[in-house]
């Protein structure tokens, strides 16, 4: 029993540097800021849509009717403010959960008008984890405020950072796994991988884009008759989606999985013209990597530039 508990403890609560979680906070918070900021006008306009089209999802399902457009706009603006504070790591114990809740609400509200864009699910879930995790113990105003000496330096590794990162990874791979299961559970079952289904799906997407004045995937028209290509895509999709949980077991497997999934989404963009921004940015896969090294490298370079090197002499105890 103790061995099981110990194994679980080691698996779910591995020590990790605070800086790693902090870099994830900055990356994912930065993406969220771009997402909300760049869609501000559109999301405000969506709040003015015909109320008969309102189909609430997520926490917005608490509402029977849409809120007043002004309230929606105020909430989006508040989300942007909270997002900046989240990025800066200011009073994270308060602003973290507030931002997570606000982002969850505004995205849910944006998706409560007859269409759920699944590409936003993981952003909201990642921010939810980061909002409630000690993600501002390093590289933040909180860390700077804590002590003058600690300014700009990272506290040591701890399980609470490792656990939050593990949770980010788990939520990511489970989302992929659920996506794969939906395909296996469909009437096509495992034969989904033959590529016929994905080809017809992509064809439907390309066709409706063209008749509705959008641009479809640039390569699709050329590739439509290459069924073998879609078979390969189908198999690769199954491998990436159903094999996703394996990425939790080993770091190298995780890196390979993240790289393949990342490339798969770029392939989807080229062939289908579907933009999964969070996936395409690569930020979604950042929890699988030692991202704090980015900061270490930056500091190393900056340090070398700003000051002369001070050698560490060997010493004996």
């Amino acid at each position: 029993m103790n061995r099981v508990r110990h194994a679980l403890d080691e698996f779910w609560f591995p020590p990790a540097p605070a800086a790693r979680l902090a870099v994830l906070r900055i990356l994912i918070g930065g993406f969220a800021l771009c997402l909300v900021g760049s869609h501000y006008s559109m999301w405000v306009e969506i709040g003015r849509s015909d109320p008969s089209l309102f189909a609430p999802v997520g926490p917005v399902a608490l509402l029977r009717h849409p809120v007043a457009p002004g309230v929606n706009q105020a909430l989006i603006a508040a989300t942007l403010v909270a997002n900046v504070l989240f990025l800066l790591g200011w009073r994270h114990r308060f602003t973290g959960p507030v931002f997570a809740a606000l982002l969850m609400w505004v995205i849910s509200y944006r998706l409560s008008w007859s269409m759920i864009y699944h590409s936003m699910n993981l952003v909201a879930l990642h921010v939810l984890v980061l909002g409630f995790a000690p993600a501002a113990d390093a590289l933040s105003l909180d860390a700077r405020r804590a002590t003058a000496v600690a300014a700009g330096r990272d506290p040591a590794g701890g399980w609470q950072y490792g656990f939050a990162i593990r949770l980010l990874c788990a939520v990511t791979v489970f989302a992929y796994f659920v996506t794969g299961l939906a395909k296996v559970a469909s009437p096509m079952g495992w034969s989904w991988a033959t590529g016929e289904v994905i080809r017809s799906q992509v064809a439907a997407d390309a066709l409706r884009k063209e008749v509705l004045g959008e641009t479809g995937g640039p390569l699709f028209r050329l590739l439509y008759h290459q069924v073998w290509l879609f078979t390969m895509m189908g198999i690769l999709t199954f491998v990436v989606e159903l094999g996703a949980p394996l990425a939790l077991l080993n770091k190298r497997v995780a890196w390979v999985w993240a790289a393949v999934a990342f490339m798969m989404h770029w392939g989807i963009l080229l062939i289908m013209g579907i933009t999964f921004r969070y996936h395409l940015s690569g930020i979604m896969y950042a929890p699988f990597f030692d991202v704090e090294r980015l900061v270490q490298r930056y500091r190393g370079r900056r340090g070398r530039r700003l000051s002369r090197p001070i050698p560490l002499y060997p010493a004996t105890p």
Partner: protein, 275 residues
Amino acid sequence: MNRMLRETGLDVVYDGLCGFCERSLAAVQRIARRPLLRLHDANDRESIKAKFPMLCGADTSNAMFVVTPRGVARHRRQFGCSRDGAAQCGVDPRDAGLERRGGSRGGTSDRDAEHMGWTKAVAGALGALLMAATLAPVSQNWQPEPKDNFPFSYYPMFAAKRSETYHVNYIVGLDAHGKRHTIPHAFAGDGGFNQTRRQMDKLIRTDRAATLCQTIVGELAQEGGPPFRDIATVQVVTGTFRFADYFGGNTAPLEERVQASCPFAPGQWAERNKP
């Protein structure tokens, strides 16, 4: 202090979770008026092990260590700070937040270990709840009428089988000579391509194609741009296409059904929309 030490500085390895230690070192830095000390958090064990292998087995939570070219100096036990809690160190509890949240340190007391165990249990339970919520929508695949949701979805996209033909709703503009023009979805609603498409489907399904048509005409009139200047009629139509034909080069629909048709007079609309 000899000249060499003054020039090279001192490497101080200390417990970064001890607020008192940090304040003391900050005071020394201020007095020195120059970067005399290079501070290293002892809890960053990997880094310490790499930089100062001689401190590998040292109990850094009980003492500070100063590494100099001559050797390593060790301060007396429990430099100002007790392991039992921040209050005894005279440290602002807010500054000790890391420790309260279960920062890893060597030689934690039983109380600390118990507290950490509880914290881990609560965090683990919440994490398990989140993972269960992520996986739970799988059950929708076997429901007679599956329902998607956010942020916990069963991700049905691309799973359904499609037939050889495809029905799609779209908007067509006809000029005075009957020539067809594609009218982009943006005139039918805000919220992006797929959302507008779904909203159009919903309006047509609920016999409100005429309302949709009027909305498009209104938006077109406000736009008033050159591509749409010659349009005389706006139609909301449902077309049926065969994939093989369409991607083989024949983009004409097999069948087209007009759901609603509205006359469009841009001049009149522009007049109406004048401030």
